[in-house]
């Protein structure tokens, strides 16, 4: 493979004929070489999905790189920028595969099943302790009801599901990840202020939950 600087990557990819072809072949190799490391946490190389996913993501990455070539600002190595695009495409695809709408619905239904009693506390609290905790949790629920907009509440319900990606929750709410993050950030800020005003610390509430 030819070693290229950022400038030669750009000029070769913008060039024509054999120069461009060679640069594209090299770039494909860069992406294919890097992707398995990006996926390693989620997918084993022995998984039947692995090879087709690498192929699909590589193809999509090359298209997107060519399409967005003008937006590269040279703040990193060109190949790092390309890997970044490949990672985004690959993880988006993995999330989509894993959290299709149906599986999200199942999770929501399961969420309503109460946890079996007796598994939670290793020491039964005194009636006074229980009362104080129950009171605090009740207060926090009330605060949440007052402070959260319906949209924020919907986001919280969805994201309360273990490990559900922001991206998939956003899709379901017919918005995008950026907007959903902003929505959550506003909700967090609001609640943080309110709890501060009420003299309740998040840590206290969490502790109450743990011992419920």
């Amino acid at each position: 493979m030819t070693t290229r600087t950022n400038e030669t990557w750009l000029s070769d990819l913008r060039g024509n004929g054999a120069t461009r072809e060679a640069a594209l072949t090299d770039l494909r190799e860069v992406v294919e070489h890097g992707l398995p490391y990006a996926l390693s946490r989620w997918l084993s190389p022995n998984d039947p999905l692995f090879a087709p996913l690498i192929e699909e993501v590589t193809q999509e990455t090359l298209l997107r790189v060519l399409d967005q070539l003008d937006t590269f600002e040279g703040r990193s190595m060109f190949t790092t920028w390309v890997h970044k695009i490949a990672v985004r495409i690959a993880l988006t695809e993995l999330r989509r595969k894993r959290w299709q709408d149906s599986s999200l619905d199942e999770m929501l239904d399961n969420e309503e099943t109460p946890a079996p009693a007796g598994l939670m506390a290793d020491r039964s609290p005194t009636p006074e302790e229980s009362a104080v905790r129950a009171d605090m949790l009740e207060r926090v629920r009330r605060i949440l009801n007052e402070e959260l907009t319906p949209k924020q509440r919907e986001a919280l319900v969805l994201l309360g599901i273990q490990d559900v990606p922001l991206e998939e929750a956003a899709k379901r709410m017919k918005t995008n990840r950026n907007a959903l993050y902003k929505l959550l950030h506003d909700a967090r800020l609001r609640l943080k202020r309110r709890l501060l005003n009420e003299g309740i610390s998040a840590q206290e509430v969490l502790a109450a939950f743990e011992q419920k």
Partner: protein, 97 residues
Amino acid sequence: MNIKEIIQNIRNRLQKKEELSDEAIQGFLRVLDKVRVEETSCKEVFAQLDEFVEKEIHGQDASRLMPLLREHLDLCSDCCEEYEALMSVLEETARKS
């Protein structure tokens, strides 16, 4: 079942859906300490992620140089996953070549 019962039934189901689970509330509270007024979006994080990761690879204190990005990674699981994936690509490909 009469009409009143049907309406009550629907109402119950709606209310049930609206109730926030303990897990949802806990997940929300857990990050509250880290939340600050200043923030950066997923989009901006993506725009700077390659630069951030290269700084880390070169042993620079990326979190100090780009603090808002670091904070976002602590609060946003999707961006954090992408950051970790990109880190392993760079670490591993650097090791091999």
